[in-house]
């Protein structure tokens, strides 16, 4: 179980970082998504891995899974979902305005219109 979760987080992060370093915006957006998945899984695991237990605290209950990371992950999912939508729209906007989907800035950004 621990190995499965750890290797899943690791491979998602590796793939995410690789894609985020590409220079086309589609790959970068995919990379961001993978990275947020990895982060969410990691956050979920910070409450320790417990299988088949209720996420509630009650009198007399000794075996339970930590409910707080689940609430945090829910928040993080909502935020990352919204952020992904924003970055897709902005990438689309710059593709439509600029004619290509490169993520790096063109030379004239630094050197002026006639460089």
């Amino acid at each position: 179980m621990e190995f499965l979760i750890a290797s899943a987080i690791g491979s998602l992060t590796a793939a995410g970082v690789y894609l985020a370093l590409r220079k086309r915006s589609f790959a970068v957006v995919l990379g961001m998504t993978l990275l947020t998945y990895a982060t969410n899984l990691f956050l979920f695991a910070t409450g320790r891995l417990v299988i088949d237990q209720p996420p509630v605290l009650r009198e007399g209950v000794t075996a339970y899974t930590d409910p707080l990371p689940q609430a945090l992950v829910l928040t993080a999912i909502v935020i990352s979902f919204g952020m992904t939508a924003v970055v897709v729209v902005m990438a689309l906007g710059s593709f439509i305005e600029g004619g290509d989907d490169r993520i790096d800035l063109p030379r004239r950004e630094r050197e002026g219109p006639d460089a």
């Binding site: 985020a20 915006s25 970068v28 961001m32 990275l35 947020t36 990895a38 982060t39 969410n40 990691f42 956050l43 695991a45 910070t46 409450g47 320790r48 707080l68 990371p69 945090l72 928040t75 993080a76 935020i79 990352s80 919204g82 952020m83 924003v86 970055v87 902005m90 990438a91 906007g93 710059s94 305005e97 600029g98 993520i103 790096d104 800035l105 063109p106 950004e109 630094r110 050197e111 002026g112 219109p113």
Partner: protein
């Protein structure tokens, strides 16, 4: 419990949606309502500052839940000071945006402005680490909207980079918070501090990983070298008033570093040494890169952006040791450099909006309208930015120099600060002379003022309002210089409060009568 503590967050949270939902089609109404909301926030922030001066730490328990479980808002001297700074900047720059007509070049400017202020105010007030993340996201998502306000190809491209960089930062933030939660089992910053002080030695490895991750996140927000790459293009391409407001966003990163490493982690000496050893060289390199960027930039927006990077470096040099004297100097310079950066961005925008095609490239161009007053404002802002007397930057730099006199790297730090100041002065002077003096060489007469005798059409830009608001920022720096004594004593009191976290922790965790 003082309910006014939550108003700086709640007021813009209501004002923003109201502007979108009820006043979408009426710009004048939007302007009046939004300015009134920002002014109310400033008044409230001043009142809270007055309350915090006595040194009492106020706690607001949301929903009246007991401390480590519910979310708390905290008001101490630093939070109150930052609230006032955000309020001043928010109001003055909003008036500039109205006066220069920037707010009508795209949609929903005022609503995004309120959301931005909500995020900034909340980030300064919150005493809960995860809540800090949420408020960071609020201020970031509003800043994405403001950054691409009015559109344009290069602005959108720079905006995409900005969003991607910050999303990576947010992932790192979550990972850092998760690590800290795994070690301490709490997200309340005061409770975390109490738990870390009692942590057995074998558990500190994971704690240090989490702490350094958080430091990296705040370094991304503060644009410390080598994590500054998002800043120059973003600030240079953002609309002028938005870039000026962003001057406080880098300071939010510095605030995060100050808050976490004076409140949560100071009980771990090895960790604090590690962080100081990373932060001080990073700050020195940041200062060098920033001021060299000022010297090398060919675009006035980039020049000002690099000046902002340099100012972050100066603040960080003072803060990096987390000693009272350094913190006091850092807080002083933080306030000053935020005002100076904003003033310089607005002065540069005054030039841009008067030049043909809004070009900010550092090339001789035909003379601009109202060149005299614009040049005077640019001159004042540049003096402040470079840290020359008589404005407050000089006193700030002096305090920073004095605060590092005790350490063993004094000679190096002094050399870096003084030599890079020279770079900054040369860069800013050269820009001024290209824009204002070389303009007259080709002999074209100055055009008449573009907007003085125009009729009072609703929503028409008012040059007077724009110039006055830049003047107001300069006046704020003059006030900071005149009131240097009381202000420095307040900064020292703030630093003293920060370096003694025990009352803060007790305020949160004890005295909890009557809570759920």
């Amino acid at each position: 419990m003082n309910h006014w503590l939550v108003v700086p967050v709640v007021l813009p949270a209501f004002a923003g949606p109201l502007i979108v939902l009820a006043m979408r089609h009426d710009l004048v109404l939007q302007r009046v309502f939004s300015t009134a909301a920002t002014a109310a926030q400033l008044v409230l922030a001043l009142w809270l500052l007055l309350q915090s001066m006595g040194g009492e730490i106020q706690v607001y328990r949301l929903g009246n839940w007991a401390a480590p479980f519910g979310i708390v808002l905290m008001l101490d001297r630093l939070a109150a000071l930052m609230l006032v700074l955000a309020g001043v900047l928010g109001l003055v720059i909003q008036l500039y945006a109205i006066g220069s007509g920037w707010d009508r070049r795209g949609r929903h400017f005022h609503s995004l402005w309120q959301f931005q202020l909500m995020g900034i105010n909340g980030a300064f007030l919150t005493g809960d680490a995860f809540n800090l993340f949420v408020l960071f996201e609020i201020l970031l998502i509003a800043s994405y909207g403001l950054m691409i306000h009015a559109g344009g190809e290069l602005r959108l491209r720079a905006g995409v980079q900005y969003v991607v960089y910050n999303l990576l930062g947010s992932s790192l933030f979550l990972a850092g918070l998760g690590t800290l939660y795994a070690v301490t089992g709490t997200l309340n910053m005061a409770d975390m501090a109490a738990k870390i002080a009692l942590l057995p030695a074998q558990d500190t490895a994971l704690l240090r990983v989490g702490a350094v991750l958080l430091m990296l996140v705040f370094a991304v927000k503060a644009a410390l070298v080598p994590l500054h790459f998002w800043l120059p293009a973003t600030y240079a391409r953002a609309p002028g008033p938005v870039a000026a407001l962003f001057a406080i966003m880098t300071k939010v990163g510095i605030y995060g570093i100050i808050r976490f490493f004076t409140l949560v982690f100071p009980s771990d000496d090895a960790l604090m040494r590690l962080v100081s050893d990373i932060l001080l060289p990073a700050a020195l390199v940041t200062l060098i890169v920033g001021q060299l960027g000022v010297l090398g930039a060919r675009h006035m927006g980039r020049m000002t952006a690099f000046a902002a990077v340099g100012s972050v470096g100066t603040v960080m040099i003072a803060v990096a040791q987390f000693q009272p004297q350094g913190l006091a100097a850092g807080i002083w310079y933080l306030v000053h450099s935020t005002l100076a950066t904003a003033a310089l961005f607005l002065a540069v925008d005054l030039i841009g909006t008067r030049r043909q095609g809004g070009s900010l490239w550092l090339r001789p161009a035909p003379p601009i309208a109202q060149a005299g007053i614009v040049a005077a404002l640019y001159f004042a802002a540049a003096i402040a930015m470079a840290g020359l007397p008589p404005l407050s930057g000089f006193l700030g730099k002096l305090a920073v120099l004095q605060s590092v006199r005790e350490g063993d790297m004094t000679a190096l730090i002094w050399a870096v600060i003084l030599i890079t100041s020279l770079f900054g002065i040369v860069g800013l002077t050269r820009a001024g002379s290209v824009v204002f003096w070389k303009a007259h060489e080709d002999g074209t007469p100055a055009p008449h003022a573009p907007d003085e005798p125009q009729p009072e059409e609703p929503g028409f830009p008012s040059a007077a309002l724009a110039l006055t608001s830049v003047g107001a920022l300069v006046a704020a720096m003059v006030a900071l210089t005149v009131l240097a004594g009381p202000m420095m004593r307040f900064a020292e009191a703030t630093a003293a409060q920060l370096t003694d976290p025990q009352p803060y922790i007790e305020a949160v965790l004890e005295r909890q009568e009557g809570v759920k």
